[in-house]
Amino acid sequence: MPASAEPSSLLHRPDIWRGDRVAELGADCVASGYAALDALLPGAGWPCGALSELLLDQPGIGELELLHPALARLSAEGAWLAWVAPALPVYAPALLQWGLSLERLLVLPVKGLDALWCVEQILSSGAFGGVVAWLPEAQPPQMRRLQVAAQGQRPLAFVMRPSACAQQSSPAPLRVALHAGRHARAGLSVHVFKRRGAPVAQSIEIDIPRPVFRIDHGFPALAGAPFSASSARSLSAV
């Protein structure tokens, strides 16, 4: 009777996971580029063909920097990316700096139901490599529709929603809450509170690259008194 094989071998099936372990998803994951985060994610990366929800209260805390390595890798491999209903107007030179190829990046500044429709089309087409969508108003049934559209397809699908949505149930198999660091040197606080596997109790701090550059003071002094005085003072305070 082959079916009654060792129970331990049964446990190696990919669709069975034990409560104390993280499911092994195999190859359809894209590494996040942050080792500390990959250690927490099932399959050691962002899952393809499933929604990943990122919950945050305000844009600009480094949320996209967290996705940046994965998106840049997809873009370098020639995949199309789509940003649906971005929270604010997207600035192309920054994306260039990130190594995304602009000719294969679709930006859709749409609102409301149109945004959901666009995400669904993009996910179910299977033609895109990654989608980032800002859907603050999405309801659980709509999220379910998107999850169904994503299933069995190859794109990475990220949905950005406000922190308050953490209380709602969601069909997304991966949910991550992001909080800004308290001070400029602190990393981004990341809490994986839902995943295929036991939830992570504690949030971790991820040291993401920050837009810091230094200018040596060989640089010509700024003209005019109001410029130099205040800037010099603030810089020395950091």
């Binding site: 107007p89 600035y91 089309q121 087409s125 837009p211 550059f213 800037s231």
Partner: protein, 428 residues
């Protein structure tokens, strides 16, 4: 039978007036569609099409599949074809008219004699008195007629019929005038009564789209743009323009885009006729068939782009570009064509507010929900006198940019100019 007596027998009978031009139009439509199956199409008035399919069997992976496609697609267009198959056109025509659409295999055999034996004489295009004469001889099948001596038949039924027999049997050549596909595609459908729902319009346009698809295949071209014109009884016609991101020839894609366009369109009036015109076509690049049954990608990006453009509008489907300009506002543009790949040396924010926001200043420091910490900077960006005063231009500027950290954890891109502090973007 008069219509009066017909109604007496069947009170629910619908009577339509026969319009010959509409029939011819419908046949031409179908001939265009048939261009999808074979380049050799012949019209046989009033109600038959002859398709030479011998050379296309390989493309369609065999006869069965080709016939399946022909049957199901023509049924989808609202026709119920009777199909006859034979090695000569006239034999095929006779078999089709006789309704001998089963047993394809027999008909493809070289035994033409056997293929024709079953055809009833009533199905041959004989004149009424000749047909009466043949039936008076007690002959009902073509097989019996073929066993009679030809000379006698020629004397009794005329040489024309004997000639047709010889053509059917492949003894004589059967030259026909090939259907000429129109140079420009523009077709019109008129309804008996004005329609008010887009579903009805969509249903009827399927016929035209099928014809368009056949016409495109015949020309080995793809459609880039077409116009659907809806004619109203009391108002000016409505024009709906459909654009495609890549040349398409598949009826399903054209239809899908049209459906999305129509679903979002509100009819201003009832529609009494519609016309579809192909306004821009492009020759199609050759397409390699898959080897070993590798499935091609299910949907192309271009197809998704088309659908998105139709639904949310051209302007909301953006591909960004960057320009070599030191002024932040000018370095960003919407079209993807003029494009640089060199990026600025200093960090640029992912979010850029279109109009910088004024920041308050407290004790000489900028404030945004609390005092900001300046992380790095300044980066001096100045000058731009060359487009000063032009409409919509950024003009001359003189700014010192800083990266700042806000108390709520946001990373800001702010600048200071003569007037004070401004918030220009957010790093994400």
């Amino acid at each position: 039978m008069k219509t009066g007596s017909a109604w007496a027998l069947a009170p629910t009978l619908h009577v339509y007036t026969r319009t010959i031009p509409a029939e011819v139009q419908a046949l031409q439509n179908l001939a265009c569609w048939a261009g999808r199956l074979t380049p050799h199409v012949y019209m046989e008035a009033p109600n038959a099409l002859l398709l030479e399919i011998g050379g296309c069997l390989r493309l369609f992976e065999g006869l069965d599949r080709l016939l399946d496609i022909a049957c199901s697609e023509s049924a989808g267009l609202g026709f119920s074809p009777k199909i006859g198959l034979a090695p000569t056109p006239r034999a095929a025509l006779w078999r089709a008219r006789a309704g001998l659409h089963e047993a394809w295999q027999d008909a493809t055999a070289t035994d033409l004699f056997g293929a024709l034996a079953e055809v009833p004489v009533a199905a041959l295009a004989l004149e009424a008195n000749s047909l009466a004469a043949v039936q008076a001889w007690g002959i009902s099948r073509l097989g019996e007629l073929l066993s009679l001596p030809r000379e006698g038949l020629a004397a009794r039924l005329g040489t024309g019929f004997v000639l047709q027999l010889a053509q059917a049997l492949g003894e004589l050549s059967d030259p026909r005038e090939s259907f000429i596909f129109p140079e420009r595609f523009s077709q019109r459908i008129e309804w008996p009564a004005p329609v008010e729902h887009t579903t009805a319009i969509l249903f009827s346009s399927r016929r035209i789209i099928a014809a368009l698809s056949g016409w495109l295949s015949r020309r080995a071209s793809g459609l880039r743009e077409c116009v659907l014109i809806l004619e109203h009884p009391h108002q000016d016609p409505t024009q709906l323009r459909l654009r495609f991101a890549e040349p398409v020839y598949q009826a399903s894609r054209i239809e899908r885009l049209l459906r999305e366009r129509l679903e979002r369109h509100r009819l201003k009036d009832a529609v009494e006729a519609l016309r579809l015109e192909a306004t821009r076509i492009e020759p199609l690049q050759g397409e390699a068939l898959a080897l070993f049954g590798q499935a091609p990608p299910k949907n192309s990006v271009a197809e998704v782009l088309d659908r998105l453009r139709v639904r949310v509008g051209e302007e909301a489907v953006q591909i960004l570009g960057a320009r070599a300009d030191h002024r932040p506002e000018n370095a960003h543009l919407l079209a993807s064509t003029p494009h640089v790949t060199a990026s600025p040396a200093f960090p640029r924010p992912v979010w850029l507010t279109p109009k910088p926001r004024r920041l308050r200043e407290r004790q000489g420091r900028p404030d945004h929900g609390g005092p900001l910490v300046l992380i790095s900077g300044p980066e001096r960006i100045e000058s731009g006198w060359w487009d000063e005063g032009e409409a919509g231009a950024t003009g001359d500027l003189r700014r010192d940019y800083f990266v700042a950290f806000a108390p709520n954890g946001q990373w800001l891109w702010i600048y200071r100019d003569q007037e004070g502090w401004w918030l220009h973007g957010l790093f994400a």
